[in-house]
Amino acid sequence: MKILIRSNFDLLLEALRKNNYKTIGPTVRDGAIVYDEINSTSDLPIGWTDKQDAGNYRLEKRNDDALFGYVVGPQSWKKFLNPPVYKLWQADKRGHNFEIIPEKIEETKYAFIGVRPCELNAIFIQDKVFTSGEYVNKNYKLRRDNAFIVAVNCVESGGTCFCVSMNTGPKAEKGFDISLTEIVKDGHHNFLIETGSEKGEKILSEIPHRTAVQNEIDSGNELINNAAATMGRVLDTSNIKNLLLNNLDHPQWDKVAERCLSCANCTMVCPTCFCTTIEDTTDLTGEHAERWQKWDSCFTIDFSYIHGGSIRNSVKSRYRQWMTHKLATWHDQFGSSGCVGCGRCITWCPVGIDITEEVRAIKESSK
């Protein structure tokens, strides 16, 4: 285990840029911590933290100058790996016929700075969706293969976090190129640094670092253990698949539907939700057409439309689809839960619906 001192953090970003990576990381904008291109450490949310609860998110000043002293914001890395809107192809009319011209895939190399362990697991889950089947989403795969991941272990937990329940954190175990644990203690501000790949080792070799002493390693572990012990939420996942699938007619679905606005916020902020729609457009001449792919949500009424009407007309059925997919049928489809316990769906729900509470309500009443 190595140590990177805070004053050398910019050198990590520089090394990544020198290796042709576009550095993407957390930054404060519009009262939230969002992910965007960062050029130096000063773009990071220095000294900020986020207070989260059901339907509630506020930034607050910290007592220290931690770079990663927050949990997760409304955005996740899917914004870059599977962009919210992108053009698949265009077509031009040639008399009775037309020619389809595929959109060139952008060869951007992203370095993601500050990937939380839950988010890293969300990326593994989307890998399965887009790259493990008979067909491969080539755009996703290219971006993913090119990406460099700097994971940051959680040393504090948020009010809506439950990664411990989902076994996805608070420490990144694999799949990163570099992982960091930020330690701000006794006047020192350092990062414990671990490499997880050859790419990671190469970058580390290009920046000044030293070997960590036992005391520092212990501090890091203690902080991570503390984050694990103070999770804001708990989700009991025992037998959860059968619990939900055996209760498709449970009255709790009606209850939650009374509150749910079917706004789709939960699906937009969820780091694993992958549904998309396509939009076919033409210009005014009618000679030029395009196909765009856009994020979609199972909460919209159009989502399940077939001739004659929508399959899932009621809000109840749409909430049930989302939650049973996330926590139950995802296991059948992709061999794991579709939930990583990041808590975003709870925080960003305008009426504060809490997935952990909904599961509990069904569980307790069906004993």
């Binding site: 037309f98 969706v129 396509i278 899932r312 007309n313 489809q333």
Partner: protein, 274 residues
């Protein structure tokens, strides 16, 4: 090959089947490639500037030089498609999805039950089993539609009806002057069909409510759930399991279906708004 890019096909022929059903015959615009598919599979068909829809293939799986789709005009895309003419281009992605158990049914009696446009995807099965008629036991084709005017593939059905080795029954919901045939829902034909329930494969395609009652009638006759197959329909955008729209419980209709054994989806089938 990128599964999201449609391949251009030229319309060789458009045929009006009934007042709102038509068939298009397509050949690849480029190259000499054959289009091979299995009975029950579908394609995503793109109409320039209008949109894309999943449509079952209705042609003979053993004739790979021409691609045949039969569809009803129900929405914007199918309406635009119905206006296309010989020489126009359609974008094709596919074939996608699972197939009818034509091979597995060898040695069995076969009951084919179609409702309305559901006959189109099942026509692929009829072609397949008639090619090897002697490999199957008794074959019943039970078809129900709205009115005599809505009878699809009328001349083909008449030909099939005249064969002694097939039991072809047609019924309509509402009769009209000159109709001497059956009146009533397709399920009323099931008790009249002759098959050995212990050794029969059933294949059903039509509205869900029609499939539901057909299944219960078949099970009443003694068929087991694993020998009953049906073709499901849901909204689809990609056809390859990425867009999430066609989910039906754990199944993706586009890649795990559209053809399922009833046994596999029994726990969901008939449940509202799944």
């Amino acid at each position: 090959m990128n599964p999201m890019i449609p391949n251009p096909y030229i319309i060789q022929k458009v045929k009006k089947e009934t007042q709102d059903v038509f068939t298009v015959e397509l050949i690849p615009a480029e190259g000499e490639q054959k289009f091979s598919f299995g009975a029950g599979q579908f394609n995503m068909l793109y109409i320039f500037g209008t949109g894309e829809v999943p449509i079952s293939i209705s042609g003979d799986p053993n004739k790979s030089d021409v691609l045949i789709h039969t569809t009803r005009t129900v929405g914007t895309v199918t309406k635009a498609m119905s206006k296309l003419k010989t020489g126009d281009t359609i974008g094709v992605r596919g074939p996608y999805g699972s197939t009818w158990p034509v091979k597995e049914a060898i040695g069995n009696d076969v009951v084919i039950i179609a409702g309305g446009i559901g006959l189109a995807p099942l026509r692929t099965v009829i072609y397949e089993i008639l090619r090897e008629r002697e490999s199957y036991g008794r074959i019943a084709i039970l078809y129900g539609t709205r009115t005599p005017e809505d009878i699809l593939f009328k001349r083909e059905l008449e030909k099939l009806k005249s064969r002694l080795d097939l039991d072809v029954q047609v019924t309509v919901d509402r009769a009209a002057r000159g109709w001497n045939g059956n009146v009533g829902v397709v399920t009323t034909l099931i008790p009249r069909a002759r098959f050995d329930p212990k050794n029969t494969t059933a294949m059903i395609c039509g509205p869900e409510i029609m499939m539901k009652y057909s299944i219960s009638e078949l099970m009443k006759s003694g068929l087991s759930a694993e020998k009953i197959f049906l073709s499901m329909e849901r909204n689809m955008k990609c056809g390859v399991g990425f867009c999430g729209h066609c989910q039906y419980g754990p199944e993706f209709i586009c890649k795990d279906g559209p053809v399922f054994s009833y046994k596999k989806i029994k726990h969901l089938f008939g449940k509202r708004e799944i």
